[in-house]
């Protein structure tokens, strides 16, 4: 039992990073119907921007903000400059996925070309270990969890209590109807990409803060888990992304502890397949059902 609680604690850290990224990823899908495989590369770029700022003497927390802002702007520009024009040519879903994959590779290799194929680290320490209810966290991990919780609360509040949030939900379900109701769809989409881009940047920087090593593959390696969390939870649903992240993060650690260390990532995908078999639209299916995904 003691070990189980300990593993849940480790899983919460992974789930927190996943949650930040998965919400961003799922917002992009929800609003634009786009499976953005460049998301991981955006995370990496934000982490590198933060690294440059941190190496120049700025505090890691300031660097975090700057990396987040950079990712937000990049995501907005990518959507406006590339994805929207492609969609305007009636490109199908598969073609759009290929476009995002290509963009992601361009960003990743550009990062490698600029900074080289080596590893970097932030100027920061993990801090001391804290014991809490049978779990162990470093100070940095507690901050990461705090950021994830705060981000979830902010997203929830935005979606529930603000006009923009309601407009986002309406556009996610049916953009034509939303337009006909007078919602400025284009502006809502822009705002969503700015927000989701910020989340990708935030996820990229906190990921590196946790694993302490940054290279050109950092975000891309993590993307597959983000996608799994988003899909398990119900693609297009931020609440689903939160739930999916918890499931993937915690089950992964438990399986590594009690079954086999090699099964950590395998467990995530076993869950993904099982959920999709039983409930093709994911655990929370509101947006996916409305978009008729997985039918």
């Amino acid at each position: 039992m003691q070990s189980l609680v300990l593993y849940i604690g480790f899983g919460l850290v992974t789930a927190s990073i996943l949650c930040i990224g998965a919400i961003g990823f799922t917002l992009q899908f929800g609003i634009s119907n786009l499976f953005n495989l460049a998301f991981g590369a955006t995370m990496t770029l934000a982490a590198f921007i933060a690294y440059v700022c941190n190496a120049a003497g700025l505090s890691i927390w300031v660097a975090l903000v700057l990396g987040t802002v950079a990712a937000s702007l990049l995501s907005y520009l990518l959507n406006r400059g590339l994805f929207v024009p492609f969609k305007g040519r009636s490109s199908n879903l598969f073609a759009m996925i290929m476009v995002t994959l290509g963009v992601g590779l361009v960003i990743q290799y550009s990062i490698e070309g600029i900074w080289g194929a080596t590893n970097f680290s932030y100027n920061m320490t993990q801090g001391s270990s804290e014991h809490f209810a049978g779990m162990v966290f470093t100070n940095t991990q507690l901050v990461v969890i705090g950021i994830a919780v705060a981000e979830a609360v902010v997203v929830h509040s935005l979606l529930r209590y603000t006009k923009l949030g309601k407009a986002m939900r309406a556009v996610a379900v049916n953009d034509r109807l939303a337009r006909n109701c007078g919602i400025p769809v284009r502006r809502v989409v822009d705002a969503t990409w700015l927000l989701s881009g910020a989340l990708s940047g935030l996820a990229g920087v906190v990921l590196v803060m946790d694993v302490q090593v940054l290279n050109s593959n950092s975000g891309s390696d993590f993307l597959i888990l983000i996608v799994a969390a988003a899909v398990v939870g119900g693609i297009g649903s931020p609440y689903g992304a939160m739930l999916g992240s918890l499931v993937i993060g915690i089950v992964g650690e438990i399986s590594a502890g009690f079954v086999n260390a090699e099964f950590k990532d395998i467990a995530a995908f076993v869950i993904l397949v099982a959920v999709l078999l039983l409930r093709p639209t994911g655990i929370i299916s509101s947006v996916a059902s409305a978009k008729e995904v997985a039918r």
Partner: protein, 465 residues
């Protein structure tokens, strides 16, 4: 070709209803023979003239090219490793060997007067990328005399391709499946991974650390050390209390490290990429239990050392970490290598970190092997060069020992046989084209590797037997 057929009066075609044959003007057999003879003569002259013309054009083209460069056509040594992707460090290491070597060779007249260049063939560490890259290299690279690499992850895919083209390759990969290699074109001048496993086990036993746990990632390269490590450690009386094989680049290894701590080992053996081990040992510190960490030669690289130092702190690193690596004291050739390496900073990133490093000196010596073998063979044909690699590296009675390319060429021109001992030391290839020597045990103190001990080849052989 009408003239060759002779004069044919087509108006004289006779229609006999059975066959239509043109009637030659004049019908005597002698005239026909003369026509055929003249025809053959004309055909021969035209063919010879045509061949001569092709030869002249080709020669002119070559001389134009030669004239443009002012020297013979350049020769190429290809580096068949990853230059991008997770194992891109392999490419940097090969470049740290190749570019200093060609710098020295070209400064001493090239190979038989030919300048030499290095060619990066990026495999990305993945067989699916390596195969087309190597095929393109073989199809499009002129003057290819030898190949450095490949690395462990792509070796099984690309070694057959290069060997089929009869091009020698000298690799620094550690796969144990090459321990009894029978491919005549494949050479390895760096010890196999499993020899590193033997060295780790030996040193742990030497330090009386007889309860060990393994923390290795599940890549092909990392797993190469495991069988020999397990076998030797148990043979020497050690007990393996836990054997973990993990997926690399996870965000947390807390559960795995907790299991490890529960097993109460005295030492952790490891080989993983920098991110994986940094994360894992950060978790180890988080759970409050630093332990001796013994790493294979894959950990004795700047990226790994820096990442793990960042994770556990310099004091813990100096106290608990030991890494094993093939050991070569500075040889006369090492100075020349270091000098040429520092001069190659435009081609090699983080150049200073490769000074004296085996990962760089072994590809350096491999290029020298190609160059000296070509010189002795008086040939730039790669298949011929391959036959002389052993000749220029093996010891022998009456052979002149040389420590530099310049000295080697001088001795060969004087008609002597040579044994080249390079920056990485003697390369004594056995019958399976493998060469390895003694091992050094290193600690990492204040950002520098410091030798903590050595394990002789005899000790390794005894531990392994």
């Amino acid at each position: 070709m009408h003239g060759i057929r002779g004069a044919i009066d087509r108006s004289a075609v006779v229609d006999d209803g059975a066959a239509r044959r043109p009637r030659l003007l004049g019908t005597s057999s002698g005239r026909r023979r003369r026509v055929r003879t003249v025809g053959r003569l004309v055909l021969s002259c035209v063919s010879v003239a045509g061949l001569a013309l092709v030869g002249v054009v080709a020669g002119a083209t070559e001389s134009l090219a030669a004239g443009a460069s002012g020297s013979k056509a350049p020769l190429t040594v290809a580096m068949d490793v990853a230059f991008t992707g997770p194992t891109a460090i392999d490419g940097i290491a090969e470049a740290a060997g190749c570019y200093p070597a060609i710098r020295i060779i070209n400064a001493n007249g090239g190979i038989l007067g030919h300048p030499v260049k290095c060619l990066a063939v990026d495999t990305r560490g993945d067989p699916s990328d390596a195969i087309p890259a190597v095929e393109k290299m073989l199809a499009t690279t002129s003057g290819l005399i030898g190949v450095l690499g490949p690395e462990s992850g792509t070796a099984t895919a690309t070694v057959p391709l290069v060997s089929k083209a009869h091009i020698p390759q000298i690799s620094q990969n550690g796969l144990s499946l090459f321990d009894h290699n029978t491919n005549p074109y494949f050479w390895r001048n760096y010890p196999a991974d499993d020899v590193g496993g033997v060295a780790l086990a030996y040193w742990a036993h030497h330090m009386h650390l007889d309860r060990g746990a393994l923390f290795f990632d599940n890549s092909v390269a990392a797993q190469g050390s495991v069988p020999a490590l397990l076998r030797t450690y148990k043979k020497l009386g050690g007990k393996v209390v836990l054997h973990l094989s993990v997926a690399p680049d996870g965000t947390s290894y807390g559960a795995e490290i907790h299991q490890l701590i529960q097993a109460k080992p005295q030492v952790i053996f490891t080989e993983s990429d920098p991110q994986t081990d940094a994360t894992a040992f950060s978790n180890l510190l988080e759970l409050g239990k630093p332990l001796p960490i013994y790493g294979t030669n894959a950990t004795v690289i700047p990226a790994w050392l820096k990442a793990v130092t960042k994770a556990i702190g310099p004091a813990n690193m100096a106290k608990y970490y030991r890494g094993v690596e093939p050991y070569a004291p500075a040889y006369p050739g090492t100075k020349a290598f270091n000098k040429a390496l520092l001069a190659s900073k435009s081609e090699v990133t983080t150049v200073k970190t490769w000074i004296g490093q085996e990962y760089a000196t072994t590809p350096f010596d491999a290029v020298m092997d190609f160059a000296l073998a070509a010189t002795e063979a008086h040939s730039t044909d790669p298949a011929t060069i391959n036959k002389y690699i052993m000749a220029v590296t093996a010891p022998g009675k009456g052979k002149k020992v040389v420590y530099s390319y310049q000295a080697g060429v001088k001795a060969l021109k004087a008609g002597k046989k040579i044994q080249y001992i390079g920056a990485s030391g003697p390369q004594i290839f056995n019958k399976w084209h493998n060469a390895f020597g003694e091992y050094g045990v290193y600690k990492y103190v204040n950002g520098k590797l410091v030798l903590a001990g050595t394990i002789s080849a005899a000790e390794l052989a005894k531990a392994e037997s």
